[in-house]
């Protein structure tokens, strides 16, 4: 269970990205975060694994306070939280296999990983992960030879290597076309249901939100302005919608 309490992030240049955000995610939830770009979605996700240092507040994960963890403890927490990104963030010049295996770095002795050595079990796991996302034949290709959808699948495979209890997905389908978006979110849904992995995912399109979310939160200018399930999204009035997306926003897709 993830509890976010009074989370505030102020960047050194004075930008307030998050203001006193509170919410709770149960285990096995598919939480979708909606909001305009710049509303703090990415910052929120990055505060959870402390790629961004929170300014104030607590993030309790299964009772442990992530914000108080020292570097060694933080690495232990991070290796249980997978992350996938809008721009995939693969090492483009390395092979797909190397990229997938790098998901195992948190479990590998540092000296081993310097010489690119992994346990045999990890290598098998990588092959399985690639098979699970449907690209078992791409293992030896260079990452930048793959199409966008394939690269994002490598990203998911990398996250799977961590045997995650939770996956943070920062706009995972924003760089992909709608058909691919369903395919990628389908993999996330499968992981969510089959492995009981909690998913925190930021999304733009409301039809995707309705289709995949078990719970939804909305951010606007760093504040939590909406909390509900996908049914609430379906029923959402135009006023409520404007509260999240601002006055000029038009309702698309839903």
């Amino acid at each position: 269970m993830l509890q976010v309490e009074h989370l505030t992030k102020i960047y050194p240049d004075g930008t307030v990205a998050l203001r006193d955000v509170n919410f709770t995610v149960e285990e096995g939830e598919f939480l979708v975060i909606i909001g305009l770009s710049g509303s703090g979605k990415s910052t929120l996700l990055r505060c959870i694994n402390r790629l961004v240092e929170p300014t104030e507040g607590r993030i309790l994960w299964n009772g442990r306070d992530i914000t108080q963890a020292n570097q060694a403890e933080l690495r232990m927490i991070r290796r249980e939280i997978g992350m996938i990104f809008q721009h995939f963030n693969l090492v483009r010049r390395s092979s797909v296999m190397t990229n997938v295996l790098s998901g195992r770095l948190g479990y590998t002795p540092p000296a081993w990983s310097l010489v690119n050595r992994y346990r045999r079990a990890d290598r098998q796991r990588a092959v399985q992960a690639l098979a699970r996302v449907g690209i078992p034949d791409k293992a030896q290709n260079r990452a930048d030879q793959l199409s966008g959808g394939q690269q994002q699948r490598v990203g998911i495979a990398r996250a799977l290597m961590q045997e995650p209890k939770m996956i943070l997905a920062d706009e995972p389908v924003a760089s992909l076309d709608p058909v691919l978006a369903h395919s990628i979110l389908g993999y996330l849904e499968k992981i969510n249901q089959e492995d009981n992995v909690t998913i925190l995912c930021s999304l733009h399109f409301l039809d995707l939100v309705q289709r995949y979310a078990s719970k939804v939160i909305g951010l606007r200018e760093g504040r939590l302005v909406f909390e509900g399930d996908s049914e609430d999204i379906r029923q959402m009035s135009d006023e409520r919608f404007r509260e999240i997306y601002g006055e000029e926003a038009e309702r698309l897709g839903a």
């Binding site: 694994n49 790629l51 570097q71 690495r75 232990m76 927490i77 991070r78 290796r79 249980e80 939280i81 997978g82 992350m83 990104f85 721009h87 995939f88 963030n89 693969l90 090492v91 483009r92 010049r93 390395s94 190397t98 790098s102 998901g103 195992r104 770095l105 948190g106 479990y107 590998t108 540092p110 990983s113 310097l114 990203g155 990398r158 290597m161 961590q162 943070l168």
Partner: protein, 712 residues
Amino acid sequence: MSDYQSTEKRPSLIHGLLSFILPGLGQMIAGQWARGISLLISVIVLGFLSIWTIAQRARFPDYEVSTRVFILLLLQAGALLVFLIALRYLLGRFFIKDVSGQALTQVGLGIFYVLTLLLVADSLIAAAGSASDISQVFGSTGVLAAGALAAFWFWQASDAARIGADIAVPSMIPAVLIACVLIFVLGWNITKIDLPKAVREYRDTQVILRRIVWPWQSAFEYETQAVEVSAKIQAPCPEGAEGPPANQPQEDEAYIIVTPTCGELTERTLTGSIELGTELSIVGGNFAPGSTVEILWKNPIGNPFRPRGVGETTIQVGPDGSFVTNLNIPSAVIPDTAAGAQIHTLIVRQESAVVFTGNLSREMNLALVGMLETIMLGLMATFFGIILAVPISFLAARNLMSPIVTTLSGVAGGLLLMVPALWLAFIGTNQISGRIGGLEGAPLVTASTAILLVAALGTLGWRTGSWGMRTLGERAPDILSRVVTALVFGILGAALGYGLGTGFSRGILSIPLGPEAAAQLETRTAIAGAILLGTLSLVYAYRQGVHGEISIGIVVYAIVRTLMNIIRSIEPLIWALVGIIWIGPGPFAGTIALTIHTVAALGKLYSESIESIDPGPIEAIQATGANRIQTIMYAVVPQVLPPFISFTIYRWDINVRLSTIIGLVGGGGIGFILIQWIRQFQYEPAGIAVWLITITVAALDYISSEIRERFV
């Protein structure tokens, strides 16, 4: 509307006049301070520069004379300009009314001014001072400079008049152009440009140039083959003696036949009279047709010499290879003990054409060895450069260093334990190296032991110290770690202040006070510095408190970057001088010089390519729970490898070029030999060296661009 008004406005005479008296004054009064001051400074600088330049004609420049001459020239040029401006004014007033005509007269004025100046230059110079004065200065440069300065002066006066009348601020372009002309005139003189000389000397150059351009004859060894034929002659010749038997003609080798084979030596008396010896007739055959042969005489002791005063000794061989000549037997000093008949030898020697042996000459060998030394020098410097620059470049990459943040107390604890740890490392190195023969006996083991111990113990000390302080901060009351932190920083600041104070007294105070007086003050300035900086850092550390975070990464980044910038901005040539003072002339000094520069240059290139990588993979790898080294290995290294390789090869290319230059000042390699050959006027060997350098550099250039193309 404003345009209309501006044409109505008349230039302000008073501002123009003020600027005419003191350049820039009118502009300053009109409120254009920067413009006025820069004009004033320009006039002063240009004026002094002109006076200084024209005075350089004299062996012992007399600036009083040159000032006087220049001012007179300036006044004359000014007068000429006044006359021309008045002429143009009248023309514009009465004859040319339209605007384009006005513009034309403005350009015409300029051209006419320059032409007139050139035409009357001689009379202007003649009027500028006495003949001896004028012989002390560069007159023609003076005229042109004075003309330009006068134009500048008038321009700024008219500028002031327009600015004073609040007409739109005129463009500075004419002033800049005039100033450029003036500086061009002075520069022409200062750099002693002499086009006729370049043409005149060209013919003489050709002889030398040809030897440099095609020096390959002296790249090989030649042997001269000599053909020597001799005939025996007895002297003196007592009655009845017949002498040795005469030679016989040979079929296929050179021969001489001398008749008779017995005769008397030439006698030279003390009074100077000469009694010539017996005349010999020499017939030669089978020599190289058309060549010359030389006749030598060898006395019984065996010393050949060229006989003098007894006939021709250099003989032209006929087209059939034969010759005929006569020679009197020369005088030869015979020791008394060897009185009596002796056998002398007449030798005919032919220096035949030089023979190509196919061996490389000594110079060529030297040049080849030097070239190899140069290439290796560049290679070694690049190699050491890479080893040092790679770790340094990570410290100098902002994107990697800026997230590294630590607490002040952590730094204090780290320093507290790192200093004794480094001391331990030093002791340990001494102990170990002492057992295996010291730095001289086992340099590599000693060096690697030192590096390993310093790195390991230093890191250990730092980590333990900062961990200790963190634990102290968590367990004990805050005030304790606060005090410890403050004390550590206080001591650190005091040490720094002591050093700076000493340096201040030695480096700065000793300039006006002299070394003795400064030495007396040294202790006091050092203590003052220690107290000042110590207190400051103590107070700072105390106020920052235990949890005050400092970006240690950025501090390290800034220090490394600054050091690299300083090192890089000092030319490799200067580093070579440092190396030569340190090590003495030779390739090792050159290697050190190039390595130092390479580290700084590569460090900058490397760190910039690290800074320009995609940050996404770093984020992704960090999110998997990887530590810092794993993140660098997996997210940074794959991205920076291609640029690193490319920059490295590029630098190797540069280093080989630089190492030839460094050789010129004594850094070893081919440059070292080349400069000696040039100074000894040995142009062929110098040409060989130049050829080798050119070939090597071109080849490297090609190879490096080929390799780099494959990687990028």
